[in-house]
Amino acid sequence: MTDYTPIQMMAAVASHQLEDGVIVGVGTGLPMIAGLLAQKTHAPNLIIFFESGCMAPQVPRLPLSVGDSRCVHRAVAATGLAGIMETGQRGMIDYAFLGGAEVDMYGNINSTVLGDHDSPKVRLPGSGGANDFGSLSWRTIIIARHEKDKLPERVNFITTPGYIDGPGSREEAGLPPGTGPYRVITNLALMGFDEDTCRMKLISLHPGVTLEQVIENTGFDLIIPEEIETSTPPTDEDLLRLKEIDPDGIIIGK
């Protein structure tokens, strides 16, 4: 049996969510790794966009910024933030792949602030391109840590809207119809969203993780389906590719 770390597990599960031949807007950190891994395994024609303006680059190894040299390396076109987000606004970006400090049961993401906005306990970086990608892409995939206070019933601050207050909220807010959170990947499980209630719903547990563990570490009532699958762990091939992508272990660890 292959030996892997939780972060390698997350990267593998995240990469499995991406189909071949679609366009994905990728945020910094683990989303980058997942996108690059998908390209090197089951989705060679996955098209990656980075918000800084990079279209379909051939990323040679892990970028340290979504705007750095490695992101634009051998891209087919270089534009800017507006060029990428306008492409999303006209419906051309299939997936957004984002991280978040807090994610709630409706898939709302907080990456702005903990505590009061104007005198914060912890100041986080803010939206970056996350609100744009999450508002304008068809489906949003979120990566988060599975801890009670990181998956609260309601995020402290909606940086990037998920289903906001539930069914109909996105449309009422004026967001493009047919968009919204699609998957949440944590160190414990893979989750989706219930079509009727727009609430987060368990899909699969990572190998060795119990349902109790997941419930205990979730800050809201997670919808538990009758059938719970087991997430597919990384293959030897996946681990090899992850090493190629991030040889210094910057995200994946050593």
Partner: protein
């Protein structure tokens, strides 16, 4: 029903004010605009100015200008944080900043959060208004187009909107709800480019991020360039001009001008330097020691580069070439 965010509009301008400024203060002719960073800060970066920085926070940023702003102790700046990273962080370290239009700020992406930046906000020293990278780009594009606002479909339904100065509006044709983003005309922008001629025509290689629009949107534009080239470079193939000369007020020759940050196609990050910087950010004493060494105790960017050393610079070029 029209909704509005209750954040402060840190830089307000009407479309007519944009027109009047451009009529009065932007030179039309092809005149030599070469200058030094010192002259450019002295002339164009005033206390309390609204500042926007080209590039992507730690990619293609104008360090000669940023260091000079710190060196000249410019105060009370308001800054556009459309992915602000090392640029904003050094200005905060130098106590130059009062407020930020935040899209992405106070962090270094894969390198993690900045203790210096966080401390400034959490202590109340730096005030934040929330936006997104797309929203700030479109606000800048609105000014570049000579419009008072642009409609958009982001920001809606979020606290980002609530803590911004955006509004909602109704589309005159479809009746749908849209976000309305007010034009942003920075008092001054500093943009680092690959090639510029002495009149201010510029080529940016790789992504523009938003710098083509930023140059058009800003009251004053200071360009630092890896290389100064003859104007024939642009005239021979005018489609390659990212920024036309009449947007630009000063041109500064600045090879390695993005160090310690990345300049696509030229040199990669000085990872060691950035690591030391972030470590120094843990407390004010170390941060001041850093600034003393790299900013206050050197006269200009050339002296700074001497301190970095040519060996290191060539190493960064090799790092870039290997990708």
């Amino acid at each position: 029903m029209i909704e509005e965010g209750h954040g402060e509009l840190l830089s307000a301008c009407t479309a007519d004010e944009i027109r009047e400024w451009n009529r009065k203060y932007k030179a039309r002719g092809l005149i030599d605009k070469t200058a030094t960073a010192r002259e450019a800060v002295d002339r164009f970066v005033k206390d309390g100015a609204y500042l926007a920085i080209g590039g992507f926070g730690h990619v293609r940023i104008s360090m000669p200008m940023i260091y000079e702003i710190v060196r000249q102790k410019v105060k009370h700046l308001r800054v556009s944080g459309h992915t602000a990273v090392h640029d904003l962080d050094v200005l905060i370290a130098g106590d130059c900043v009062d407020a930020v239009d935040v899209a992405y700020s106070f962090a270094f992406e894969t390198r993690g959060l900045s203790k210096n930046g966080r401390r400034a906000v959490e202590s109340g020293r730096v005030k934040c208004v929330e936006w997104t990278n797309g929203a700030l780009s479109w606000r800048i594009k609105a000014a570049a187009m000579g419009l008072p606002f642009l409609p958009a479909r982001n920001m809606l339904g979020s606290d980002t909107f609530n803590f911004s100065a955006a509004k909602t509006m109704v589309c005159p044709f479809t009746g749908q709800k849209l976000a309305a983003l007010p034009a942003l005309m920075p008092d001054v922008s500093i943009i680092h480019v690959h090639y510029a001629d002495r009149y201010g025509n510029c080529l940016v290689r790789g992504t523009t991020v938003k710098d083509d629009d930023l140059a058009k949107a800003s009251k004053r534009v200071i360009v630092t360039a890896e290389r100064i080239v003859p104007d024939s470079f642009f005239r021979d193939a005018p489609e390659r001009t990212t920024i036309p000369y009449f947007c630009v007020d000063a041109v500064i020759e600045a090879p390695w001008g993005s160090h310690p940050c990345n300049m696509p196609y030229e040199y990669y990050f000085d990872n060691e330097h950035l690591k030391d910087y972030l470590k120094a950010g843990a407390n004010e004493k170390d941060l001041h020691a850093y600034l003393d060494r790299w900013v206050y105790s050197v006269k200009d960017f050339e002296e700074y580069l001497d301190l970095v050393g040519i060996k290191k610079l060539y190493e960064l070029r090799r790092l870039e070439e290997l990708r």
